[in-house]
């Protein structure tokens, strides 16, 4: 996969800072050996599944779907999610009567429309191939939500742990 390959080629978010005078070599006598100093900076990257489509749902009935998120990190991290706007087919904002929920780090369903939710709380650094998380969402329309297709804007945030 070109994405992973590129990550690998870039040394996976490693920023190599050459210390001392900006060069690397410290001669060690006649041995010809060189001591190199490198510093790896904390960094992370994220990749998201392109889209998520829920099955049709009648008012009062809930349906679930999962969205894949991949994170690469060499420090502890958190993943959060929030939903910002709901729009109907014509692009106008819609005040959703039903609910859109996400399964948070405590395995509890949380309303995604009323604030940021923590999906993963204290994740350790990932392996080089990253860590892919399937984030479950649950959607339940109400009778106040007319038939049609709605678009919900969801934003994921990766935060380093303190």
């Amino acid at each position: 996969m070109r994405w992973n390959l590129r990550l690998f080629q870039l040394g996976f978010f490693c920023v190599l800072v050459l210390l001392s005078t900006g060069s690397v070599a410290v001669a060690s006598g006649d041995s010809g050996k060189v001591t190199m100093f490198v510093e790896v900076a904390p960094g992370f990257a994220i990749s998201l599944q392109d889209s998520l489509t829920f099955p049709q749902a009648a008012p009062g009935r809930s349906v679930e779907a999962e969205l894949d998120v991949t994170v690469w990190s060499n420090v502890d991290w958190q993943l959060r999610a929030t939903a910002t706007t709901v729009r109907s087919e014509d692009g106008t904002p819609h005040d959703f009567e039903g609910g859109i929920e996400v399964l948070d780090f405590e395995s509890a369903w949380r309303n995604l429309l009323i604030g940021e939710r923590i999906i993963r709380y204290a994740q350790q650094p990932t392996p080089s191939e990253g860590e892919t998380i399937s984030v479950p969402f649950r959607f339940q329309p109400g009778f106040g939500d007319g038939p049609g297709t709605y678009t919900i804007q969801v934003q994921f945030t990766v935060v380093p742990a303190l």
């Binding site: 070109r2 994405w3 590129r6 990550l7 870039l10 978010f13 490693c14 920023v15 900076a41 904390p42 960094g43 992370f44 990257a45 994220i46 990749s47 998201l48 599944q49 392109d50 889209s51 998520l52 489509t53 829920f54 099955p55 049709q56 749902a57 009648a58 008012p59 779907a65 969205l67 998120v69 690469w72 990190s73 420090v75 958190q78 729009r87 859109i100 940021e116 923590i118 709380y121 204290a122 959607f139 329309p141 009778f143 939500d145 007319g146 038939p147 297709t149 709605y150 678009t151 919900i152 804007q153 969801v154 934003q155 994921f156 945030t157 990766v158 935060v159 380093p160 742990a161 303190l162």
Partner: protein, 230 residues
């Protein structure tokens, strides 16, 4: 039957790397610069937007983001961004400079959000934490509570200082005869000023300690801090 379809639609997704993601800078002064490196990894042009906020901490050390207008305004007084947005070509790298504009505080905890532009659907952003403190600011970490259950020890540190620090110490477990069963180094991680942080140290099932001590490391000294009986 009413048919309803809900779509979370997204654009193409961010192959974006940012580094560093956590910057601890002590003794900062006006004019100091912090450089963030960004790299496009998905092989497509990306427009990145930058915004600021503050962050705080919950009792377990979790980051609490503050993005209200007041927090954003305060952060913008302290940090000047060299760009509000940039466009990265495929696989391009770029540096963003953050300049310290004010140093009339003991410490400030600022978050920089790097957000790839998306027209709709699923989006992502990366949060970079800046832990800034000025000359004279100091941490004051103290152990405030040690509690235990049958399978874990709960240790709480408080930072009453003016800048962030870490709570560290060594937990020692003994049996009835006083024989040392084991020791465990404890590091709570960063504690922001005015915050307390609790750590849970799970105990191995094979251990049935009846006595423990905890020595907190403060200012480089080992201080006897707590003891207890199971």
């Amino acid at each position: 039957m009413i048919l309803l379809a809900c779509v979370l639609s997204g654009g193409c997704h961010a192959g974006l790397m940012v580094s560093p993601v956590k910057v601890e800078a002590h003794d900062v002064s006006v004019g100091d610069e912090i450089v963030l490196n960004l790299a496009e990894l998905a092989g497509q042009e990306q427009e990145l937007h930058f915004s600021l906020g503050l962050f705080d901490q919950d009792e377990f050390g979790g980051v609490v983001l503050r993005e209200d207008p007041e927090s954003q305004a305060w952060a913008a007084k302290i940090i000047e961004l060299s760009h509000s947005k940039i466009i990265l070509a495929p696989y391009q790298q770029a540096d963003i400079r953050l300049t310290i504009n004010r140093a009339d505080y003991a410490s400030s905890y600022i978050v920089v959000f790097v957000t790839p532009k998306r027209s709709s659907g699923v989006s992502s952003r990366l949060a970079v934490l800046l832990l800034l403190s000025t000359e004279g600011a100091a941490e004051a970490i103290a152990l405030t509570d040690v509690d235990f259950t049958s399978d874990k020890v709960l240790i709480t540190f408080q930072n009453s200082g003016s800048r962030h620090g870490r709570g560290e110490g060594t937990l020692a477990l003994y049996d009835e005869s006083g024989l040392l069963l084991g020791e465990e180094y404890v590091d709570t991680g960063t504690i922001l000023p005015g915050c307390h942080r609790r750590s849970e140290i799970p105990l191995h099932e094979s251990l049935s300690p009846v006595y423990f001590t905890f020595q907190a490391r403060e200012l480089g000294r080992q201080q006897y801090a707590a003891e207890g009986l199971w």
